[in-house]
Amino acid sequence: MGEVLKVSGLNKHFALFPGPKVLVGCQDVHLVLGRGEFVGITGRSGSGKSTILKCIYRTYLPQSGHIWYDSARFGSLDLAKASERRIAHLRRQEIGYVSQFLSVLPRITARGIVESAMLDDGLDLPQVRQATEKLLAHFELDQSLWDVFPQTFSGGEKLRLNIARAMAKKPRLLLLDEPTASLDHESKARVKELLVKLKTEGTSLLGIFHDLEFMDGVCDRVLAMSAGRLTAQNLR
């Protein structure tokens, strides 16, 4: 089968202590992502878009449902139930996640961040050096910033670095949580270019966007969400 990801009957709610307070994240979500496909999800804030992505990445533990993922290493496995050890391996090798926020160890340079992502992937150093510079250059991150700590970057620069880091690994599945939210047009175009490139290289992508115009150019299908449920398939 040409499916990388198949989510069925996914439910996630959050039980808040103390007391019987329950927040609904997402309910009865079904979706399929084919190999090399780019699916976009759109919907209002709080509709549960990120919840789906975080369940797939296992930042959230779903209450019920299955998330079948076709791994290069382990074959087909249910991300909702796989061991932490396997998930950790998949995160390093196969599944990437880009959020709006850059979260890195302090006092590591931009170059170091991208390099270490690639080193985790098992490439050797000269290769990594070259690939890193190419990637940073592609995102038009000014050369003067390469050896600077990202704490000093502007929002857009941080975001571009964040995406560069995720793309460095050429993941099999890339989850995008509004990665373009605060980017200018030029940067968005850059991101778009690279996403398309990754897609042609075989990466499957599942992304949340508010920018319908952005999705128009790159997504094969667009899904809409509201109140924790997928309400419309294939808006395009």
Binding site: L16, P18, T59, E84, R85, A88
Partner: protein
């Protein structure tokens, strides 16, 4: 890099109590403790039924409030305290077939010198303050069978370089160092015998932010370069978030939750963990 299948350290049903216990708290199911304390016989059950696995090259975080048994766990693994019961196996020691808690004192010293490194919150516990920095490292090397002065000096010098101690202070005693420098000498000492497992107890507590960043960077670098497995105890969630892939949450001597670090922090399942995460500034 799931290269090392199987755990490098496996701990099962580990218990540690301080005090003799009495008939009121002997029965595990029936006893009524005040948290982990028996008011009748004044026994503290510091760690109760702790089981965990540590895998090759990973950093395992342990969080929990003061008195939850985090440090006791590390101190028993490093044989500073004797475990009351339970089993621990090291992959690298007798093929992981022997419970290290029941080994002889001599064997325990061997394990400590060849298989483990420990960095204490308080540098006074881990260093001899009246020995030079190089001497401190040599001490551990001698314990681990080093006999050549040249080799030991070379090793100590390269380690102190690695942790950024300026060369002109190598011969000074750690007593004259700042807290952050002492901590880094301790890390160099713990690394000196190339241990496959490193135990780190609140190593950034009390350090200022810039030094803290330096120490964290150092640890992350060590993990990547040498693929040493580590257990990192901290009550600083930011530290755990940055370092640890998996995290264990302890409360009153028990593990109440464990999972991938971001899952524990973003989708905590236990009331205590929720409280902990919500308390984050």
């Amino acid at each position: 890099m799931e290269t090392n299948e199987g755990a490098v350290l496996s701990l099962q049903n580990f218990r540690k109590q301080f005090g003799s216990g009495c008939e009121k708290c002997a029965d595990l199911d029936e006893r009524h403790l005040q948290r982990n304390y028996c008011p009748n016989c004044r026994t503290t059950y510091a760690c109760a039924d702790v089981s965990l696995e540590l895998y090759g090259g990973e950093i395992l975080g342990v969080v929990g409030e003061s008195g939850s048994g985090k440090s006791t766990l590390l101190r028993c693994l490093y044989f500073d305290e004797e475990a009351s019961s339970g089993e621990a196996f090291l992959q690298g020691y007798k093929s992981g077939q022997v419970n290290i808690f029941t080994e002889t004192g001599q064997q325990k010293r061997y394990i400590r010198n060849y298989h483990l490194g420990m960095v204490y919150q308080n540098p006074y516990m881990g260093l001899r303050m009246s020995f030079s920095s190089i001497g401190n490292i040599a001490e551990k090397l001698i314990a681990a069978g080093g006999r050549s002065v040249d080799e030991m000096t070379g090793r100590a010098t390269s380690l102190l370089h690695k942790v950024d101690i300026p060369p002109y202070r190598f011969l000074e005693t750690p007593a004259t160092f700042s807290g952050g420098m002492q901590q880094r000498v301790q890390i160099a000492k713990a690394l000196s015998n190339n241990p496959p497992i490193l135990l780190l107890d609140e190593i950034t507590t009390g350090l200022d932010l810039s030094v803290q960043a330096k120490v964290l960077d150092l640890i992350k670098g060590i993990q990547r370069e040498l693929s040493i497995s580590m257990i990192v105890v901290s009550h600083d969630l930011a530290v755990i978030r940055m370092l640890a892939e998996r995290t264990i949450v302890m409360l009153d001597g028990k593990i109440v939750e464990q999972g991938l670090t971001d899952q524990v922090l973003e989708d905590p399942q236990h009331p205590y963990t929720q409280k902990l995460v919500q308390s984050l500034l």
